[in-house]
Symmetry: C2
Subunit: 517 residues, 2 copies
Amino acid sequence: MKIDHVTPKTLSRRGFLKTAGGAAAVTGLATGGIPFLPGKAEAAVTLPKKWDETYDVVVVGSGFAGLAAAIEAKNGGAANVVVLEKMPVSGGNSIINGGDFCAVGTKLQKENGVEDSPELLYKDMLRAGMYLNHPELARTIAYGCKDALEWTESYLGCQYTKLNYHGGHSVKRSHGTVNQSGSEVVKKELAKAEEIGVKIQTRTKVVRFFKDKDGRVVGLEVRKGYKFPDDNSGKTAFIKAGKAVVLGSGGFSNDVALRQIHDPRLTDKLGSTNQPGATGEALLAACLSGAMDVQMDWIQLGPWTSPDEKGFGYVPLFCEPLVGYGLMINPKTGKRFFKETGNRKERADAILLLGNPAIILGDSYAVNKQVVPHALNGGLKNGSIKKFDTLEDLAKAYDIPVEALKEQIARWNSFVEKKKDDDLDCMIFEDARPTVEAPFYAARLWPKVHHTMGGLVINKEAQVIGFDLKPVKGLYAAGEVAGGVHGAVRLGSVAMADCIVFGRIAGANAAKEKAWS
Amino acid sequence: MKIDHVTPKTLSRRGFLKTAGGAAAVTGLATGGIPFLPGKAEAAVTLPKKWDETYDVVVVGSGFAGLAAAIEAKNGGAANVVVLEKMPVSGGNSIINGGDFCAVGTKLQKENGVEDSPELLYKDMLRAGMYLNHPELARTIAYGCKDALEWTESYLGCQYTKLNYHGGHSVKRSHGTVNQSGSEVVKKELAKAEEIGVKIQTRTKVVRFFKDKDGRVVGLEVRKGYKFPDDNSGKTAFIKAGKAVVLGSGGFSNDVALRQIHDPRLTDKLGSTNQPGATGEALLAACLSGAMDVQMDWIQLGPWTSPDEKGFGYVPLFCEPLVGYGLMINPKTGKRFFKETGNRKERADAILLLGNPAIILGDSYAVNKQVVPHALNGGLKNGSIKKFDTLEDLAKAYDIPVEALKEQIARWNSFVEKKKDDDLDCMIFEDARPTVEAPFYAARLWPKVHHTMGGLVINKEAQVIGFDLKPVKGLYAAGEVAGGVHGAVRLGSVAMADCIVFGRIAGANAAKEKAWS
């Protein structure tokens, strides 16, 4: 950050530091505060002489969590609430979410005859999380998700029309939105926020936190008119949070430097299924202000993504239904290298270890039976899925040794005949058939970063915990920016529940804070 | 921390804060510095008016790493070097270490006809670390360990007499000290440090860091005369580091609150194999000063420890040789529950999931064949290992349903006969025999915390990296307090190599820093 750009005469950091101590008046800083800590983006501990804007509650991030927090803060009595979003449009990653909301004991579950309980979800979350989840956080979601879903229905007007299943859950409990997208919820949150008078500011990026002399977070330095990802864009402004700051700023799947510190394999050779703005500046700014991070090295990869299309794309919808029916091949050798029905982490790790993209392939029977036309046609159109009349053509296209490939497929076919994979113990489904029927379809697979489980330590009141192991006064967090909720692995569809449950808690508690002055 | 205890009239934190800004003179703080950040143990950013002691290089921790750093700092030209140790005696956890030093291409390996290479060790470290290791750090150890070992031989006079094997290594490369203890190295480091004029101060605990206006670490606030674990003991002193501070302060295996944040299963029901002082205050103080932590949730448990004796004890030396020869039972059911030859993490996780200690048992043939008399006799004497004439007596002693136990042993014996475990796929060694021969021996197993892989982010120059992703000026770290070196799992005997390699780098680089004034 270069403060020089903003107020060159009065706030030049270098100038300030040269005259630190006695020069508060000429630097435009209030006396009685604590001067800047130096260094890019370090915790700002000087209160600005003048706040440019003042709110009761300042929310960072406009996804599921941030918007839920803003709405509950406003409804909880905060006189004015702002949502800061660094990107030019609201919605964050939530707006491209698949729109499955995990909840237990709902109308839709009853209609589908599903027996379920919060305790069962809690246990599923802990098992998937390898028992690294903070139990009270997982429990808060398990017991709070029904109420959260119903709030989005009755208060926001969201509709869920299909009960879906995700791996790792004991039962079907993922409630699909009517439009199969998180946008159903985000758009209705945005409409409600506007209706009740929450202000939304896009292109506003957090630079650092202000704390008062008691260690309470009292405001933010931001860049207004920020153009992602140009750090020099926009103008500095100081925003006062009279009651609290709530972080709902999301994960860091697209922050290559940060994710490589926590998992060095995740270089820029790996894309992400997330929106470009899923970078960790607000999280790091909070840590520089004393907030503690946890389980940052649990970064979930999708093993079903293609390097030949951007973001989530079509290939995951081609690959996943094919496992147990088709083969995954290393093109260098023409051989299978890992069981196709392994879990996300196992498969992604195995492909990364190859060092080159894998190939998933299936014949006409398998593809037509398993893959929805929308996904197949989308992938064929953008070139990420290819169609071949012969195995020779397929081998040639991906530079696979053709004889080795044919031998491997013959071996696979023998396993399919007896429904038992002697080589890699892949599950082979009862209705699977040998891979023989032209045309053949194939796609390249290379993992993409999908979700960052780690983040700021919070308690069940959504208060952020500091490196002194105590709550950071005036600071809350919810959603992907918070860690410890999911432990090692987040189950599919629990993200929405997490965001709405903890977003609402954070907002309600922020509104209850006593205002400082 | 209560500054009130120390200088009640002038440095009372509350009093200071009430008059913050204009009151620097009366608080005893120099003007021109940056006043205290508030909150227990937060980063101190005010320079004290007067330093009580001044050194070029201040080392925190007196184990392998800290002492190596101190020696190299002194030899590298630091005029005066101090080592601060919070416990009453020097040596930290290193002095109770088993004394195996991983190194590649040594005389002892050649004498034993072992073919090895740094690259092979590097690959072993990465595989064990689940590829979470920072590659340049693992590489630095793999290529630097031979030199480090030879430095302890030629410069310190240490002796290594036996080449040992640890799981996960491709070859034998663990060099056992002559006395089978890390004390061989620590004691010789201490003697050398004293000889060359390094000062060692015990009972001196770090409270927080001082940074100057450029963000450089320039000194520490400590408690002298500290009596572990009483935070109110001792007196505050301000120690200036003219060149740098080196952290060699070890892990946090005994810091229950901190380890539970990163792995909630590790409650106070779990002991530790470490010395009591393996608590994370210096690490947290560094984080409050802007240093970044990494992979803190990878905390290694020993699955072979007993709740019936303190620390490492005798039971690991009873349990480990018995796996593949004897059975591990859940006393609640009388049944086996996990393969005895599973890896450390698998077995520890399985026992924790039981929720109660497991029982390892073997008959006279297995125990006499496999367990060294020293361990057996030690365990029998302290009561952690018990001897029974009949299985009935054994079942009664541990409250195991006796018929279920007998049935399970019969089943196990049938597996031993055919050398194949149909239930849990345990390896059964060729010379294993059915468990039939009285007397029988048994011990309870409950995991203990053994090593904390995570810690501060460092680069290969041992500089600590901050939450702004840049080196924290004037701050180095080495050994268990640093993270990212071992990734998910530290291999046996690589701790000594890590500590000596990075301790020396940190000390040498600290000495090269330009002094501030």
